[in-house]
Amino acid sequence: MDGGYHIVVCGSIVPDPLQTLAPVEGPTGPSLKNEMMLPAVLDPWAGHALYEAAHLAKNMPGSKVWLVSLGPKQKLQQLMMSIAQKVSFELVVLDGPAGGFTDPCEVASVLAGGIETIQGLDRSRLLLFGGCASASRDAGVTMQMVGEQLGITDQFLGVDELVVQPDGTLKILERSEGGQYQVSVCAAAPALLAWATGNLPEPPNNPQIGMANMRTVMPALQKALPAKVGAEGVSFLSVELPKQRRETRIVRDMPPDEIAREIVDWIKG
């Protein structure tokens, strides 16, 4: 495409998966124990979307990447210390909760509103990227709702590959049932791609990119407007950790042949 793409990536923070998570009941519904204290990471699938966006932008001159994040701004600021060193983007901050118990519909309308305020965004060149699901709510619906609000009717979910073909069409591989891919070709932007893992490794830190990004990141954090999101109309009757803890039988000093027999009996049993 002449002039490249305008790629908007929606992505925010989730608690580091290595942390122990416990639900607590609050005045406005459930949340995580010590939620603001938990170390956070970029939501993994949104992260893949961001790396794919940066890669595409690099290969398509004239392209530009925005990262639109809804989350508590002090936590987003911490996240930027690492993410802003990896790839070039312009940040748009929507200062509000990033927890899993908010309603995706409310989140989507805040994100769509945030995208609509981006100065200079050419919607005819728009590729809307995001993760196929968050590691917090894990609903897998937010991006489609954002896309719908922006009038995008070419949408793809669980994308692992995007190829811009010589004729400018977009060839897209989506994860389908049974470990297979559905292959589709979309005529052109605008389109929405909700990414799965993609094909790219996490880019290494690059202090030069970090310095360049920080020029826009800090003002974006400063001018972030508060965003109200909750889960109106939802009543959580309970939120519980799974109770089941298994009594693990630890088998030591059993010869491999005997273990193998036990495993085969178990499989056949």
Partner: protein, 343 residues
């Protein structure tokens, strides 16, 4: 009074996928539990008559359809238009659908158009006290919530393998076919087809009895100080062939690649289970050479019986996550397992 709509799309052979019958089973039970509730069935596909007849006796008062060649394919724009037309015609207050790629992709947009709400990955439904509540997991299978909501229409995408499938006699029925026009702007995407990932033949088998999970230990230096990648591949593929099991992987293993080529070439990210992978459902699972860290173990939430082989007795599996942990060398054990299964 709730107007319940169960929607399904046909698969390429014209039949309904088993997950659609599970969704129908759940919808039929819900109608029985909710006083005065009615059921409609909505079908999408090339020709949905055989599918409609196969579920004709489910008790639905209306059978709605959107049919034609453009509705056979899995594409957001056409699927969203079809579901929207059916949901509007049925005046549905609750829409129940199986979590196929087609519906996972298209339903959220329809919800937006109808100003409704949606819950996905639904793993339980109850209306015992006359009010519908559902169960779903949060934080990728870390915690389970039971919730209800006021807004309608309420769309529910049900996970596969959870609800008993509807069973009943086929019959005849009157199909109300809804005409849905697809303008050029809704046909900008062409579906080319289905493709297996370049790295593997079919190693992911959702209906297998056993999930075999390989971890990064298979590609680490072993007691002799050497790598044994060929043996690792043989043991893993040998077990898959002998047992017809499905293949899962830890993140660390599929992340390993040399210049983009996986260390074990039959593995791809599609095999990954866990926090950023899949959460498959199988009766049994055998973990080999993986450490059992929490982001990995969440991928095992729906595996009923779990055993693990690890040389390290203090690995994560020992912390109450597996039923049995064999402290042993997986190379040796799996060689013998394959021998016994083949013999």
């Amino acid at each position: 009074m709730e107007k319940i709509l169960c929607i399904a799309h046909t698969q390429p052979d014209g039949n309904l996928p088993s997950v659609a019958l599970e969704a129908l089973g759940a919808a039929v039970r819900l109608v029985q539990q909710l006083d005065g509730a009615t059921l409609s069935v909505g079908l999408i596909g090339q020709n949905v008559k055989p599918a409609a007849e196969s579920v004709a006796t489910c008790g639905a008062t209306r059978f709605l359809s959107v049919a034609g060649a453009e509705f056979e394919v899995s594409r957001y724009a056409s699927d969203a238009a079809a579901v929207e037309a059916i949901a509007r015609s049925a005046e549905a207050t609750i829409v129940i659908a199986p979590a196929t790629l087609r519906f996972s992709r298209s339903l959220p947009g329809v919800v937006q158009r109808l100003k409704g709400r949606i819950e996905t990955h639904v793993t339980g439904m109850d209306a015992a006290d006359g009010k519908l509540s559902i169960q779903r997991w949060y934080y990728r299978q870390r915690m389970m919530a039971t919730l209800t909501r006021m807004q309608r229409p309420w769309f529910l995408l049900l996970d596969g393998g959870v609800f008993p499938a509807w069973q009943g006699e086929p019959g005849t029925t009157t199909l109300e076919n809804l005409a849905v026009e697809l303008g050029e702007n809704l046909l900008r995407t062409k579906v080319i087809g289905i493709q297996a990932p370049s790295t593997n033949a079919r190693t992911i088998r959702p209906n297998a009895d056993v999930l075999f999970v390989a971890g990064a230990g298979w590609t680490k230096k072993q007691a002799d100080g050497e790598l044994h990648l060929n043996e690792a591949g043989e043991r893993i593929l040998g077990f898959l062939a002998n047992c017809n099991s499905s293949l899962g992987s830890s993140k660390s293993l599929v992340d390993q690649s040399v210049e983009g080529v996986p260390v074990l070439p039959f593995m791809s990210h599609l095999n990954q289970v866990g926090q950023t992978g899949s959460t498959p459902r199988h009766p049994k699972g055998l973990a080999t050479c993986c450490h059992g860290e929490e982001p990995h173990a969440v991928g095992w939430r729906f595996i009923n019986e779990r055993r693990a082989i690890n040389t390290d007795a203090s690995c994560g599996w020992a912390q109450g996550k597996a039923d049995v942990l064999y402290v042993a060398d997986a190379f040796q054990v799996m060689a013998k397992v394959n021998e016994l299964l083949a013999g």
